[in-house]
Subunit: 297 residues, 2 copies
Amino acid sequence: MVLTPGTRQRKPPQTLANCEVAIVGLGLMGGSLALALRGHCRALIGCDADEAVRRTALERRVVDRIADFDSAHDCDVLILATPVRTILAQLEYLASCAFYPSRQTAVLDLGSTKARIVQVMADLPPRFEPVGGHPMCGKETNGLEQAEAQLFREKPFVLCAPGFSSVRALGLTYEIIQVIGAKPIMLSAERHDTLAALVSHLPYAAAVALMRTVLAQDDEQAWVLASTGFRDSSRLAASDLTMMIDILLTNREAVLRALAAYRRELDMLVAAIESGEADVIRAALAPAQAKRAELFK
Amino acid sequence: MVLTPGTRQRKPPQTLANCEVAIVGLGLMGGSLALALRGHCRALIGCDADEAVRRTALERRVVDRIADFDSAHDCDVLILATPVRTILAQLEYLASCAFYPSRQTAVLDLGSTKARIVQVMADLPPRFEPVGGHPMCGKETNGLEQAEAQLFREKPFVLCAPGFSSVRALGLTYEIIQVIGAKPIMLSAERHDTLAALVSHLPYAAAVALMRTVLAQDDEQAWVLASTGFRDSSRLAASDLTMMIDILLTNREAVLRALAAYRRELDMLVAAIESGEADVIRAALAPAQAKRAELFK
């Protein structure tokens, strides 16, 4: 029998329990996912560019073994948990691995923007079965040291499964989402990016602008007075730079639209405050207050 | 002996332990202060416009007894813990109580803006010994139900003690700050208001603008995706409306200056994102990231 590239060589595993899962990027997201998946798959393989991270991952048994990217993608489920532009490069590399003698591999990415990634996923050879994913959670601090199995619990996990996604890959992804306790939400990549620009990338930009505003005053006493309100408002400004730069580069239009809308709302607030009229100010603040109080009870 | 108004009728108490302390306004701040002061003064008197709050305060022994404002100000330490414009009205009322046959009363307010309050304090009759205060802490939820003795612990407590503040009133205020575990910071009222506009009122306005931006999209799915980042960034938008309106009205100029500076920083961020250059974006984000990471370790 002649093996045609892309032909299935064995029966693909049907459940996570008998899958070899490789996680590329053992930062906050990849590390937390590894911890949450421990005991739920046949083997956990870790892959990271940083030698110290690889050593820690092994020492703390975050993964069962370490592999380089070239061998890590010979697995049942490949999870890409790096910044978006690195994911794009990895997907392009995978496109050149069509003839690698291997099994079928479900490819799930955890990238923060989805349109470009899903676009590149469409060009993967049939050996790879891609699904786009984005767990909407995080911390102000990054890295494996901050990873925790509970990170995804009750948090939204967006799935972008275009026409080319396989039932098998989607099934495994749903199983992963169930195991880590997240809430799956199916969205198109474009819709995800528009909404993420609003509820994630805009808050980041607002936090950075806040930090920049106080920094520009060059007044040490301001930091002394900064208390819990400032701490929470500025939290996102501490996000990993490479991750955020990749987001702003790959979701530029939606982020700029969100920022333009934000500046319009700021202008309306400024006008209300300038009026010096309690009723005008109240009308500008009240809907935001009511919705925020309702939102996170 | 003829009693002249303003004459001391008995030796003033020297420490908090033998003081009758009256707290006007038993919301988050006043209620928390009462809980933190329990057992540290001779008697705690509560005063609140809301009957249900007065009942709860008695039932839960937050205070020893309830009084109306007219009799509450006959005490050793009077603490005004209401929104700023209510404090202003209360101070104006106190100015008419010069001939009330009473002891010397230290008057400490917890108002969120200080310039106007300190201005009005200057006109109090000598029976009252005023000090301006602002504990920089809070929660997104308000009211006595949310009060807790630990609220002030390790938080900045700004003191505005103009020339007319007495040594006795300042001493008692320092004792209060020590008992509740806050960190005293002496500032002029003007400097407090400028800094508070930057690190407290601006973050509030930014959070409101964020909520308004997402509300304006009228897309329910956006709220579904809003996770921890959005939750923290928007937290201040849930602040009590009356408190915030009073702040925006009494600190208008400083808030508008802070908002103008914020919009300049947003414009610079927008320009960086528009450039589409990773290096330009990194340069715009990096100082904010470094400072935020250093600030709240």
